[in-house]
Subunit: 341 residues, 2 copies
DNA sequence: TTGAAAGCGCTAACAG
DNA sequence: CTGTTAGCGCTTTCAA
């Protein structure tokens, strides 16, 4: 199909209304200096003819589009989706519209470049600003505002939202420790990510605060994904002296632990306590305790921050930490005499 | 912030390279008639200067943008998200990029108008075509191609993808009936939607084929959402003679049935068999049988269809039915003597 | 209160 | 092989 150029445009409306293009434009943009009568006639025609101004043309001419972009690394991942929901919520209450741009399943090594390209693509033309999730870059060569949600690495000069990963991990560990658990396995996340590092640090520091010797064999890597986490958890559960609890670095890992336990005929929480990071919807059904990051709230917060920057309002802090919270949806078991029960 | 217009543009590259704007444009668009030497120099500068062509300008001039739009009614809903994943998958393998536009949580009555506006907004300017999920409209005043996934109402002349809702419902019912269930409750969906109607028809027709009298008290409305479904299921389970199985019209309703059962101390599948429509990820964990619609496959199929239309390739059928499939992730109980077990 | 005209950044003829 | 030129649909001065 050779697409034609026959959508109704501002000229058509102008001709029909017997006025000039600029008059229609003025009506469109709510300028005051238009005769009430003309305005009504034009408005009527716009409605009747089903005219919508071309986004491309409009954003080329004027510097504001009232469009905010969201760049996500991967639509498949629940994390991104939660953030997106939050962004959407904030957008709904604002005068902006939302445009989501996905990088698809880009090969890891080129993700950073793609990101740069996408952000530029959006911000140089049609959006007033961009929110970028789990950004691999910590710097952008860009004029228009960008806010980053949970970027891979930490940069205090870049407007960004982080979860309190370290504090959350401490909370999770203290919870298990207070229940009496002493052998606690850890399913770690992608080691290059800041969030994964923080969570691991929390695990270690909590142990040392409780004067428990760090046991390397209790740490396995789940890469923040389910399939490797099942294997990792399995490895933990097959240890000669298996852990009584597992702290999983994210939702996928927690689910992996669940699956591995089930495979081995272990029941959660009777035979094994599991606590996981990130928003785990399934926790409602399968007795998991979670450290919710309120991912969607991170999305909303980022959006509000971006809108402030766009409007040139002053920012309190460039970097915001978003408070994580322990949510006991299921339950973990109290431990006596080194035995669950 | 008064955004400035200082992104690097094609002119800058041209000046720097000592060539004309059109030469740069030619390089950009991979035209062949450019000296290898010039091409390399320009390409190098583009990289070095971090130039990205303006989407707005490009789409204004040329009729193709290689961008496909996806208009979703609600990012919060798992249904849309599954479809989006499928679209994204198909996009990844195509030369197109994906732009998602959400209507936010628009009031129901105005959703149809918003839809029209959004589609026009995208298709009149920056996208080559649009996929629209759960469309409230069955007609669009639009030149560029549109494909609809599971529209609210049926229109044989509009390129669209449906699930085999009726056949799927029959399958689900036959499965339960063959297990011996005779009192089967139905949690219905939003009555105005085509899919909900089809599923209900399947429920009724299966009963009548098996010569079971239709009992109105076994049909409750869950509105395709979890909170009302919990109440609806509760009502079913508190009937004097409670059903031994429930057929839920969608995923949210199935989960609602699960929650209601749990509340009442009933166990699935021991005390109650539950089967639900749509893709239920939680089924992996909570013993549900599901009629998967392969929602994400619907998304992919829609995308392929759209791309064909964009390229002017002939379409087999305007309307595609997407085969649903019964997936026994958990299990349902065989029934003897009117008792589960 | 309105119209004419310039130009946003780019592509696609058409010339050279 | 490369440059010149004419718009794409819109907003925004500047004049009337």
């Amino acid at each position: 199909m050779q697409p034609k150029r026959n959508a109704v445009k501002i000229q058509d409306v102008a001709r029909e209304a017997g006025v000039s293009v600029s008059t229609v434009s003025r009506v469109l943009n709510g300028k005051v200096d238009v005769a009430k009568e003309t305005q009504d006639r034009v408005l009527g025609l716009i409605e009747k003819m089903g005219y919508t101004s071309s986004l491309a043309a409009r954003s080329m001419r004027s510097l504001r589009t009232n469009l905010i972009g969201l760049v996500m690394p991967d639509v498949e991942h629940p994390f991104s989706i939660e953030v997106m929901k939050g962004v959407n919520r904030a957008i709904t209450e604002s005068p902006y519209d939302l445009l989501v741009y996905t990088t698809g399943n880009v090969r890891k090594d080129s993700a950073a470049n793609h990101e740069q390209r996408f952000v530029a693509q959006l911000n140089n033309s049609i959006t007033d600003g961009v929110i970028i999730v789990a950004s691999a870059n910590s710097e952008f060569f860009q004029e228009k505002p960008i806010v980053s949600v949970d970027p891979h690495s930490y940069n205090p000069n870049f407007p960004s939202i982080y979860g309190t990963n370290y504090a959350g991990a401490i909370d999770a560990m203290e919870y298990l420790l207070e229940l009496g658990h002493r052998r606690i396995g850890f399913i770690a996340g992608r080691p290059e990510l800041e969030s994964a590092k923080q969570r691991f640090r929390g695990y270690q520091d909590a142990l040392s605060k409780w004067e428990i010797t760090f046991d390397e064999s209790l740490v396995v890597n789940g890469d923040f994904a389910m399939p490797p986490s099942v294997l990792a958890a399995r490895q933990l559960l097959l240890l000669p002296e298996r852990p009584t609890a597992i702290f999983a670095a994210n939702d996928q890992s927690a689910l992996g632990a669940f699956v591995a336990a089930k495979d081995l005929g272990l029941e959660i929480p009777n035979d094994l306590s599991v606590i996981g990071f990130d928003n785990i919807t399934e926790a409602n059904y399968i007795n998991l305790t979670t450290v919710d990051q309120f991912l969607s709230d991170m999305g909303s917060t980022a959006t509000h921050m971006l809108i402030k920057i766009i409007n040139g309002e002053p920012l309190q802090d460039k970097v915001k930490q978003f408070q994580t919270k322990l949510v006991v949806r299921g339950s973990c078991q109290r431990l006596h005499n080194n035995r669950i029960g």
